[in-house]
Amino acid sequence: MLQSSKIVNNFDWITVVIYLILVFIGWLNIYSSSFDGDSFDFSARYGKQMIMIVVVVVLLVTILFFNAQLFPAFSIIFYAFIIFLLIMVLLIGDTTGGSKSWFVIGSFKIQPSEFAKLATALIIAKTAGRENFRLAKNLNQFLIVAGLIFLPMFLILLQGDAGSALVFIAFIFVLYREGLSFWWLIILFVEILVFIAFFFLDTYLIYTILTLAALVTHRYNTGNFKESIFAFLLIIVIITVQAAIVVFFRAEINISVMIVISVLFVSMLAFIKYLRKMHFKAVIIPVLLLFYMSSVYSTAYVYKNILKSHQQERITILFYPEKDISGVGYQTHQSKIAIGSGGFYGKGFLKGTQTKYDFVPEQDTDYIFCTVGEEWGFVGTTFVILLFTALIFRIIYLAERQKSKFSRIFGYSLALIIFLHYSVNIAMTIGLAPVIGIPLPFLSYGGSSLVSFSLFLFIFLRLDAERESVFG
């Protein structure tokens, strides 16, 4: 057990300063958008947030005296508890803004999904931090980690909070750092491209482009000409059969039929390959092709049949922003007006008219960045972005100097979750991403978000204070 003074000395105060500046900026802007000109009021949002900040400071001090070994030790229990809460919230939770993700206790509301990120980070660090863990070699280990990530993600998706679920994508980057193939990132990236293309291009055209891309990649991947010809023929057959269906049945082809045919062919191929004990790599590209085709199909299906009309519109408006500024595009449009009206230097503290008078929805939670943009201008927004970037880099830097794998994985999780939150949030407010309701870490009003992020950060800093130790 190290002495407390050593922990304090080893504590990374640079990160703490950046953190405090962000929290202070957040509070100022919450104050500005919820202050109504009367005297200070603790029941107003800025008052509540101030209470939460005090709570967080107490936590900070408490964590300093924690035994760092406790974090890996309790990670399984904590994860189990959070999963329990995520299930409970589905049963007895309170619905706010379309998602059933809140427990109401007195005048405070708690959102377990905010803590799920922390719990998942802990359990992943614990699992992947083991010395014998080899992600690329051991399929069982891979599946366990994937399961640990997808379980809370799935439960949060069930709550109707797609934004918070999306954040779990951060773990792919963490696993990438821990040995996951670069191809997984490419797969993810291509999937995002396919998703965007869905809104601009004809479905059949996307299929054709995917097929050609698959051919090129396959050739490059295997370097085996025979394999390429085989894959190429396979694709030709699939497309021909599909075209034949269109021609002979003179009917609008059902995309699901196409998928089923593709699945049959590819399964057959995989089975033959398996019997011949040939290299597994040869079937990767056709499988991926199938994956993307299915994702286009499922995007279409989800978009048309599952998403509620307002959700459809939220996505559509991203790609056609000028379509209807008073309807669906309203939030994004108002948010841009607010930020844009700030100009270079901003209108000044408490001078924002757009955010103060409710033109921007959620101006102190998800759209807090609008208040920054309006009142502090380009100077303010750039400062906030630089602060976030600095914070993330600092955390990555700290993570890399850890002796313990547990601490490193945990640090990477922290950095990437902050990154995903901040980038999705800001992209949304400036119209670069669809309206996905997730808070801006440290700035947005909301106790759950502030406490969970602070806890996340402090646990990591506490681990970093004993960076020469090994945990797990």
């Binding site: 980057f173 841009k336 007006i337 844009g340 033109f359 976030f388």
Partner: protein
């Protein structure tokens, strides 16, 4: 592991650069968001000033204001609301309402949903208005008339037309502007100055308070009150006497040039031209019998008839072509190609000529004026005569403060040169000018002013209708005396004769016991129908208080209708009573419009 760290770092860096670039574009480069923000948050509510009130000469109120409200909305700020309920509340047609809203759907500029809501309806609507966020009231005022008189003089206000909007950028669509009369002539004084309240409104159009604590607000400045020279009682009485007649009465206080009454018949009620039914009523009045819209007192040109003999007499005396002792044998006047007939014959002197309105006598006088040997030719003599006539305010712009005042007809010699050929005309050619017929046309105002010159023994003060603007003194031009070219001593015999006209001459029907009225009858030949009846008069003979001209169209001799009306008017003004109620009754009940016009 180094490369993986770099790839992840690259992701962070590129993201930050994209964000900063996009923010630079939104916040610094693009200006449209800044403009949208102002439209979004600021509502400019015009503060309409109260229009100046108008009083009569005795501080009786003629025109004041009453409050009403316009219901407005900024279409862009509208959210969902119950259209049917609102239309029921406003009692408006739902289809029209939807049309109005839809036309301007994208507009940030307020549109008026319902105009001129009175206080009763206002209370009803206001109570329910909270259900319809975005709708708000704008307070306006409308004219209110205490007495339904003097519509021609006062004029009316109505919404500005596109041309007026273009000419003066003070006005905005829906603003009111004086369209005629005092309302038009004194528009800038009456209108005051609009103010503006800048309010911050939220997304639902709810007011959140004033912008920068009202730093940029401007208060409306109320319009100035005007005190007119009109005597409301006399004006009302004159209008009553003129009931059923086409014509005009103009009364002036000679010593000041103040117009006591300006009446044009037929008239209409001024309150027809306020409020929602203005255009409907305007059409109705425009088309009704006797053309009530015409302000005959200022715009109708009549030959002066025999009243002009006074002027020719005075000019004759001044030019010394005659004296008060000059006698002509009158048995008609031989004008060469025709005889000017006369109703008296024998030897007539200056006084008798006026008293009995001899035509031949004035033909002789006019002949002497035009053939005055002082001038080398008739044209020069005529021009000189014309200058004398103009010095009485005839055939020239009086430059009064009345709206649309006409100059009248008094041709220069060159006109006759052109018409007959140079030096191809003489006094006989234009002999009808001797008796106020022919190529002459003056407004009743000019004739009343001419009478004032006689009453003043040689001068007039430019007639005017406004005495005081709030507390400011009126223009100097309405104090200055303007002298005629006839000197004071020549007026005495003319006035003596005018007194006889009333006491024992052609104007006896104006005679009023106890008041020494001096007058002169006239009959204006009317080629289109029955002659017009004219009478001019002033009273009392010494220190005259009132000078008056009365024109009654198609009423025959001046003594028939014009003279008794003048008598009643003078008595009303001086004594505030009438000694001849039966005459009054008969006059009021006579409907010449329906008798003479079929």
């Amino acid at each position: 592991m180094k490369s993986k760290f770099l790839i992840i770092s690259l992701l962070f860096t590129i993201t930050a650069i994209i964000f900063i670039a996009k923010l630079f574009f939104i916040q610094v480069v693009e200006t449209k968001y800044k403009l949208s923000a102002d439209n979004n948050t600021l509502r400019f509510v015009t503060q309409y000033p109260t229009r100046g009130k108008i009083f009569d000469r005795n501080d009786k109120i003629l025109v004041s204001n009453k409050v009403y409200f316009d219901l407005k909305v900024v279409p862009k700020s509208l959210s969902e609301f119950d259209t049917t309920a609102l239309c029921r509340l406003l009692k408006t047609n739902i289809d029209e309402f939807k049309k109005t809203i839809n036309e301007e759907k994208q507009s940030y500029r307020p549109i008026t949903i319902k105009k001129q809501i009175d206080d009763k309806e206002f209370a009803l609507i206001e109570e329910q208005l909270y259900k319809f966020p975005g709708f708000y009231f704008e307070k306006r005022t409308i004219r209110e008339y205490q007495q339904l008189i003097a519509s021609h003089v006062l004029g009316y206000i109505a919404e500005v037309n596109p041309e007026e909007l273009k000419n003066d950028n003070y006005y905005e669509i829906g603003d009111f502007i004086g369209k005629s009369g005092i309302e038009r002539k004194y528009e800038t004084q009456l209108r005051g100055k609009k103010g503006v309240n800048i309010l911050i409104v939220d997304v639902l159009g709810r007011e959140q308070g004033s912008y920068r604590n009202g730093k940029y607000d401007e208060n409306a400045l109320a319009g100035l009150d005007l005190t007119t020279t009109i005597d409301a009682d006399l004006q009302a009485y004159g209008e009553k006497l003129l009931t059923g007649k086409i014509g005009s009465i103009v009364a002036i206080e000679p010593s000041t040039g103040e117009l006591l009454a300006i009446i044009s018949g037929p008239t209409y009620s001024p309150d027809l031209f306020i409020g929602k039914n203005l255009s409907e009523n305007y059409k109705m009045i425009e088309q009704s019998k006797g053309k009530p819209l015409i302000n005959r007192a200022l715009t109708s040109l009549y030959p002066p008839g025999s009243t002009f003999k006074l002027i020719n007499g005075l000019i004759g005396l001044q030019k010394e072509v005659i004296t008060t002792q000059t006698v002509f044998v009158t048995n008609g006047y031989d004008a060469g190609n025709h005889i000017v007939k006369d109703h008296i014959s024998g030897s007539v002197d200056f006084q008798n000529a006026i008293q009995h309105s001899s035509n031949a006598y004035y033909c002789h006088v006019f002949k002497r004026i035009i053939s005055d040997p002082k001038f080398t030719n008739y044209a020069d003599a005529y021009e000189d005569w014309k200058m004398y006539v103009e010095s009485f305010g005839l055939g020239v712009h009086l430059n009064s403060d009345l709206d649309n005042e006409k100059k009248g007809i008094l041709y220069p010699a060159s006109y006759f040169d052109r018409y007959y050929g140079k030096a191809r005309w003489n006094y006989n050619t234009v002999i009808s000018l001797a008796i106020g017929q022919g190529e002459l046309g003056f407004t009743p105002l000019q004739i009343a002013n001419m009478t004032a010159v006689i009453a003043n023994r040689g001068y007039y003060i430019t007639p005017h209708v406004i005495k005081k603007i709030q507390n400011n003194k009126i223009n100097k031009q309405f104090i200055e005396k303007k002298y005629s070219k006839v000197s004071e001593e020549h007026f005495k015999p003319v006035i003596e004769a005018m007194e006889k006209v009333v006491s024992q001459g052609t104007g006896y029907s104006a005679y009023t016991p106890g008041i020494d009225i001096c007058g002169k009858t006239g009959t204006v030949q009317n080629p289109h129908g029955a002659d017009h009846s004219v009478f001019v008069a002033f009273a009392p003979k010494n220190n005259p208080k009132i000078a008056i001209s009365v024109y009654i169209e198609n009423a025959g001799f001046g003594s028939t209708w014009a003279a008794p009306i003048a008598g009643l008017m003078i008595e009303k003004y001086l004594n505030d009573t009438t000694s001849k109620p039966w005459v009054e009754k008969q006059i009021i009940e006579t409907d010449l419009i329906n008798q003479t016009y079929k």
